[in-house]
């Protein structure tokens, strides 16, 4: 975008009947207010932008503040960070109008529900100690590796690493089952996301009705107590339904990420 030209930053889509006001300042140096562009029963949440470029740090925060606030109050389909369109007319003609029916249907389906995400991380040391106690073969192999000089134990070390990796996978699967077993009954839907780090035990997104959020949080708390020091739980939300507004379908003039 060229210097000083006006453009429209797009945050997400809500139902046009939704009158929630967003207080958070918009993306860009001028921190303009968030407004809506309605069309065919849906509305885009946008703000005006007239700077030459975005700044990742500040604007990622601003983008998130708007969506976080919106998600706390209403159902919003989030648009990917950094999406800017030419004008209000472009937002209507190229984005809202061609996709109105489909977006309205998704919004109706997700109405009154929020995403709550749970990540679990192993305490690596505790986990490894547990594996040594549980699995005699790992303990045996460890003794053998320790008795040999490093150069002579190459294959043994690989084998030991394989055993450990397999056991960690087994723990991941059973911990994921435990978490799903406890929390899925309280949710409308659950979706396993790829783990973000090597020590991740699980990463699951839940779609939860707003009126069940407290019950869900209590269950998470109990679960965290049960998992103890072994798995550290991080619990984030309410988020826009990022993981559930996403079914791989292609839209006219747009695709679902």
């Amino acid at each position: 975008m060229t210097d000083g030209r006006r453009a429209i930053y797009v945050y997400g889509v809500v139902l046009a009947s939704d009158r929630t006001l967003i207080q958070a300042k918009g993306v860009g140096r001028e921190e303009t207010g968030v407004r809506r562009i309605p069309q065919n029963g849906i509305a885009a949440l946008v703000s005006d932008l007239s700077t030459d470029a975005l700044m990742a740090a500040r604007d990622l925060r601003a983008h998130w503040s708007v969506l976080e606030e919106a998600a706390a109050r209403t159902t919003v389909l989030p648009v990917r960070f950094g999406t800017v369109m030419e004008s209000d007319e472009a937002v209507v003609d190229d984005f809202l109008a061609p996709n109105a029916e489909r977006l309205a249907a998704v919004l109706a389906e997700l109405d009154g529900k929020v995403q709550l995400s749970i990540k679990g991380f192993y305490d690596e040391e505790l986990l490894l100690r547990q594996l040594l106690e549980e699995t005699p073969e790992i303990a045996r192999m460890r003794e053998r590796v320790r008795a040999l000089p490093e150069a002579a134990s190459y294959y043994e070390r690989i084998r030991l690493g394989e055993l450990v990796a397999a056991e960690i996978d087994r723990h991941r699967a059973s911990d994921a089952d435990l978490v799903l077993g406890r929390l899925e009954p309280l949710a409308v839907a659950a979706k396993a996301e790829p783990p973000t780090t090597k020590d991740a035990a699980l990463n699951t997104a839940f779609l939860v009705r707003r009126d069940r959020v407290d019950a869900f949080s209590d269950a998470v708390k109990r679960l965290a107590g049960e998992l103890g020091d072994r798995v550290q739980i991080r619990y984030v939300g309410p988020l826009p339904p990022y993981s559930f507004a996403d079914d791989g379908a292609t839209l006219a003039s747009g695709t679902w990420a």
Binding site: L60, R61, E86, K221, R234, P238
Partner: protein, 148 residues
């Protein structure tokens, strides 16, 4: 920005009742990877935004791992040396060859990039206050909605 209200403190085992909303570091992978994508032909491209986005993603993704390894390594220092031998290779790579200071550098880098850091405590307090107001209003709102 509220940070870590979602996180149960490592040592204490205390756990917060409510989900922590919105720590940027907690959700950055979601924000950057997901969301409706509007066709490139009808978007205005912004100078540098793609590069900055990729940058933020890479640095942020590494931070959690680095922090955890650093913590694990710190714990090991307190114990007999032979206890550490069973730990995986990755641990070794963190402890050996000055990787620790590299980690430090990367974390500082992220803080700069995302503006997390010095001013954050203040931010956090302000946010916490406004968040609890927001939360309670959104809760009463959602109850109202449900009654309708």
């Amino acid at each position: 920005m509220t940070v870590a209200s979602a996180t149960s403190p490592r040592a204490g085992g205390g756990y917060l009742q409510r989900p922590g909303g919105g720590s940027l570091a907690e959700v950055v992978d979601i924000i950057l990877d997901k969301g409706l994508v509007i066709d490139a032909y009808v978007r205005v491209s912004l100078i540098g935004i793609e590069i900055l986005t990729i940058d933020a993603r890479i640095v942020i993704a590494s931070v959690d791992t680095y922090l955890r390894f650093a913590e694990a390594v710190n714990r090991l220092d307190l114990q007999a040396a032979d206890d550490s031998q069973g730990l995986p290779e990755l641990m070794e790579s963190v402890t050996s060859g000055g990787a620790k200071s590299k980690t430090q550098g990367a974390i500082e880098g992220v803080k700069e990039k995302l503006g997390i850091g010095e001013d954050d405590d203040e931010d956090r307090e302000k946010e916490q206050a406004s968040r609890s107001r927001r939360r309670s209003s959104s809760r009463s709102r959602s109850r109202k909605d449900d009654d309708e």
